[in-house]
Symmetry: D4
Subunit: 238 residues, 8 copies
């Protein structure tokens, strides 16, 4: 059977084209991914808030697949209402589906803490309005955002067209030596291929939305895969 | 960007745990899979008919991901109302989403014709009630069903627990020399690993629901991958 | 010549279909396996006791093959009469055949001690009656059985149909944090593929009947293969 | 489960140390080997005749393992009483065990016919007495034995100590251009590694006891593996 | 020594960042690439005409490196003055340097003829003004341009930022069934990775500027590498 | 895009045939090389001084390619006027092109210091006149030249014909135990293949012109590739 | 044992450093090479004639090693006295040692005939005096020498220092279209690496002294290795 | 050129068939082997003493090949006259040829000392007479021979027919725990394949004649290859 070690139920915004391939790439032996979608086309505050309405249905369907855990796979979608919003979402999903649930923004905060980043440089594909929400959320969770820089994209489908080197270049340009590491935000911003190169070149840990999401998913259910790529978080903190 | 050669939008019953991993395994370079789900837990006539109600929403969401084609990924779900039901579903999905759509049962019929099977032996995980519907549909489409044999499973999640060798053994037991080939039915019945072994041992072509679904999806949009596995259909008919 | 480094004579219950393939998989370079069988179809106390009658003949035949050591390859078959029964069997076989002999249950006890497990969680395919015998034997040998859980199978041929992930799931469900490790019992219960994954995920050593049997066989005759799989026992204790 | 495609029950003389390793090497994916033994130490006419008494018990035990077919794995043991003895043995085993049975000498004759060898050069490890029996059997089955040459060994365990190049050198020395091919006799005479080299160097097909035995076993139950080694018989006649 | 089989002297526009890596990727064993540059930043008619002034100096320097042949590596730069301009450039370079010289636009015309494309669909990164020159040149050389489509880029450095899939998508969109094949123009437009995929999917031959340039370079000096990629031109026409 | 991690602008003497292939071999993932040339045929003091006149034009052209750094790739060409000449060249190139610039002789001095060689044995392809310049330059920069030995070649194209083992043999013959390491001079003297063998055999670090040039280029822009070859400098000092 | 398929006794001139490594590289599985030497330092007519005196002793020693065949491994050494000299040498060696013997010049003539070269272009490392002898010998054996060109080397040890590309370049320069193929002479002239490249580039068969020597050695004793390199002779004529 | 890093001149008894293949297998990159022979067929005291007469001629011929060192490759041949005989041989060869020379027995003593074996168990193919000489030589050089055991073979060609497992079994049987390691004697006794297995199984270092010979040859001329096989001597003591 597929997913004998772990079945992950993944909820993504409808316009996300990156999280499914990156999750399949990172999936350890015996782990399978099963997806459901919530309507979203633009990455704006308003749209992100509306999206939540579709989450429960999605969770219910994934429960039918016998998933062991549900990942609410959207960074800003799980932080747009501020501190605690991520936990609120996962609790509601758990109540509704009877399955353990986590969110990307929870994963990001946990990962930054685990790896010891308290001053972070953030690279995003977002517009300023969304960046401001993210900065606020991180700082309210005790992570100082030294710099944050976005590509200014509203259309999520446009974000999904970016190449990994766009993330590399943006991350390198936002990095300053008074930070402890980098966070590349957005589950639709392709970047897992360049995590290790970026860590090698800059000498600091790099967290991305999808990497942190997979990490927390595995960690929550005790899958301790010995990764040889995808950054120090995956290689040394499972 | 992921899916630069082809983005497939895949609609599966909520309890299906096999079609996503098998589609990712068979996906050619540059092809990505994006999934949405329709509620279903039991494989019964009644439940399959109800499921269709969720298809439009799923298609709409996949359209947000910029998919090039939508695959309605359920064999019996796209034939339960008899001949023509498959075409009716794909037409409605196309109308609603503005995206080209196909279904598994259409794919199966097309594949059987393409490979030249007019008398088929059918192996399924289903109960008799569902087998009867399938037999009717195939024969109404001009394919004579010489033998059909099911595992008698109702719970779809139970079907997803079967190993490939279960499909191998069932297929071998249903085969008779007066057939032109085998059809292993159900997108949740794991079997792509044993297609080539079965073809080698029996000397006739083998069609499975997921193989045929991927084949029709690629063929419809002109992706002519040169497969070296997954049966004569994939190796010689793209 | 085959077996120039070591020729293992393996005695298995007639209905065992797993020990031969697992022994061949684990066999180091220059080591060959030669098998003889004892009649057994059901894994019950009564049948296990009767089986012993066939052991001497089997040992005699293996002696003809010039084997260096004889492994009595049945867990419960070598403990069903309680503490000391394993040593009694091996002594008789040695006396009769003139060849060094060991048994699976001896191997399991030795392995648990070597790896430092004094409180164990036990996963088996057996019925309760047989589990009770096993618990007693282990405890009489100084290993505390914290939990033991069986699949409730009587027919040995049915045990041989289980997939490795069945052993993984059962082992994971029987594990509790107040144990030092896991023992997966039965030479017919396929499990060597998942030893390392289980050790990684749970962080404790895992002993299986076939792994321990191979380990004691090699150790007894001084074959110190440097394994890279099959658990800490094989990787670090030869 | 092991042996989902085919489970072979193998009966060998107790002192045979070559047939098990060669059968495991040649076993296709999904095929497993399960062994039982008959007492034999010397390869003499008298001993070979006595050995048959142990065959039924062995077959019965293999039936417990759910094997799909039983191979009586001894060349001279299945021909020592002359033409028809091989068929007699397999019929008795089938009657007793309820399982399809074949023998090595049947396999050799079938293989020689299939590959088109009617005039053969035979290389054996045997003494003249045994060679005479073999020559008689082959000729009574319509295969003319142009030359036959043995190593003169009586002890079967000594035969099992020969290296494959001994078979190569013997076969090359017995070959003459007025034969259609070579037969290397004895399931305990290691030779599968040199079949392809010998065929390349001499330009004629080479049959060995173990190769022919595996070939007939697979062919009888419709396993059509695409071999890339082990001679023209395996590469082109399954 | 490097380049013992062939030393290629490559002249590129100063802003070209693609031809050097693509030439090194395609270089057969024993072939080395040595580069010199001509000033150019914008791909406009005016700038392309000015560029030629720098070619002689470049050729002279490459002669110092003992190159066996000089490739003037710019498509539009060698056709901007119309039919015959390509031959004029190569003759001047030969006269000046004493070394055999060829140009990209000569290579493209030769390749189209060799592969049998007389009606072509052209994909370019250029603006209309440059596309018009290219169409004229091809048609004056007897190749009918059925369709031509450009990305509208002026800055050459921007052309060098395009990913191969941009070429794939553009080529697919410009293709019509009344053409014999595709030509992807511009030595700075990355595309060799997708030639084979495009040929597979469309079923017609695909010529690109760099592929044709390498092909003519090798062909002129009799290097007949057996390519397994880079399109039918390289695989079947050397 | 090529060179997304780093684009190197490489200026070489026109007759150099080794630096481009060695730089491409050593280039890390995402790093591309773009070349321009300065006229030079003989390696004499006079010719090396004249060559500098062509450097600015070359740098300007490389700036058009958007390179991140310019390497003036000639050892003696950047030291022929003595201490400080290397810095003078790179400053002028930077002023003229607006791009960061470095030279080979700077790289060599930096590398010798980094690796801790203060007493060096030098192997070169040069004539004595050029060796004298090199010795002077190194000693003025604080590196004591214990021994220096040249092949006496004037024609640069002849230097480019030497095999790596010529460098190995020369280096081994110039080595004495009172040095801390070896320097193999000249960007046209093929040697990167034998750096590791030489370090293994002699037990001291080995610096070559091209290795040091790549090292300084990467180091200047923070590319910290984890090399597994090309000497201790590349493996341990990035 | 080494050499179970074939033991080659190789007699080489004392100063030859190429034939042993090239013979080991080309040796099929189960074939071993054993060497003895005859005194020779210069490749002159006089020295070659004197060398023969040492051949008998060498052959006698190789006979002690149980070799199956003796190769007199020197091209000009076995033709210097003209037509028939090669046969005379091998007959004497056979008489003296009792072992089958062949020579390089016999091998070359046989190979040229086998491959169908009647008009040959010859590349050698020799001086004119030796080339003249070779031309005479070939023509007396019915092979027309269209062109012959030598490097003019007398010292054999100097010949052994040439790289394979020297043979490639020389062969290419001596080739003319009115020949049927190339012969690269001298068992000390390294060239087996470039046979296939040369055949690909020129489109005619290429014979070298060592390739032909190995070919005749294998052919004489019926070793029909399926080569995938070393020219059409080895790939298609064994 | 072959042997650019090191050219080894190897002198072997004429009937030795093992040292050449084992030396080629162990030869590091850039190291070539060139062989000459001394007459010997039987391994007896008398024959070994006579053999020396042929050594000077052999050395002279190897000097013609420009070898860097000469190895007198015979264990007992270089110790048969007792302590100091090995040094006497190498000095004479050096005087005569002008090339550095070493012998196998010197290598064995040096290797035993280097690895720290002062009490040794010795496995040989020899008769007692020869074993006695060897024991004396080792003990006179300060190595206590705890046990020595031979196969009793006189004919050297018979020694060359032994398989590596014969050495493994003999070595294992001669080992006792009061020794520091094993010495497998004779350059014609095939054994390098089983050195690592033997060291793993017994836990003590293993020295063989050919391994020690290669080790001393490399060490003498400063070739420090990083071996991953052939025992602790090669892996840790170069």
């Amino acid at each position: 059977m597929y997913g004998w070690r772990l079945r992950i139920g993944l909820i993504v915004p409808s316009s996300n084209t990156t999280m499914e391939p990156e999750f399949w790439k990172m999936a350890p032996k015996g782990v399978s991914i099963h997806t459901a979608r919530m309507n979203l086309t633009d990455v704006t505050e308003e749209a992100l808030i509306k999206m939540e309405a579709y989450a429960k249905d999605a969770a219910e369907r994934l429960a039918d697949a016998g998933v062991d855990i549900i990942m609410y796979g959207c960074t800003t979608g799980s932080l747009v209402k501020g501190k605690g919003y991520d936990r609120q979402i996962s609790q509601e999903l758990e109540k509704h589906s009877g399955i353990r649930a986590v969110t990307t923004s929870t994963a990001v905060v946990e990962a930054l803490r685990e790896i010891g980043i308290s001053k972070v440089a953030v690279a995003t594909p977002y517009i300023d309005e969304v960046n401001a929400k993210e900065k606020q959320f991180l700082e309210d969770n005790g992570i100082e955002v030294i710099r944050i820089k976005g590509l200014g994209l509203v259309k999520n489908i446009e974000i999904g067209r970016q190449e990994p080197w766009a993330a590399y270049k943006l991350a390198k340009s936002v990095y300053t030596s008074n930070t402890d590491g980098i966070f590349i935000s957005c589950t639709n911003f392709r970047s897992i291929e360049i995590i290790d190169i970026l860590e090698t070149d800059l000498g600091v840990p790099v967290i991305t939305s999808n990497q942190a999401s997979m990490w927390l998913t595995l960690k929550t259910l005790g899958i301790k895969e010995k990764y040889k790529e995808y950054g120090a978080l995956m290689k040394e903190h499972l």
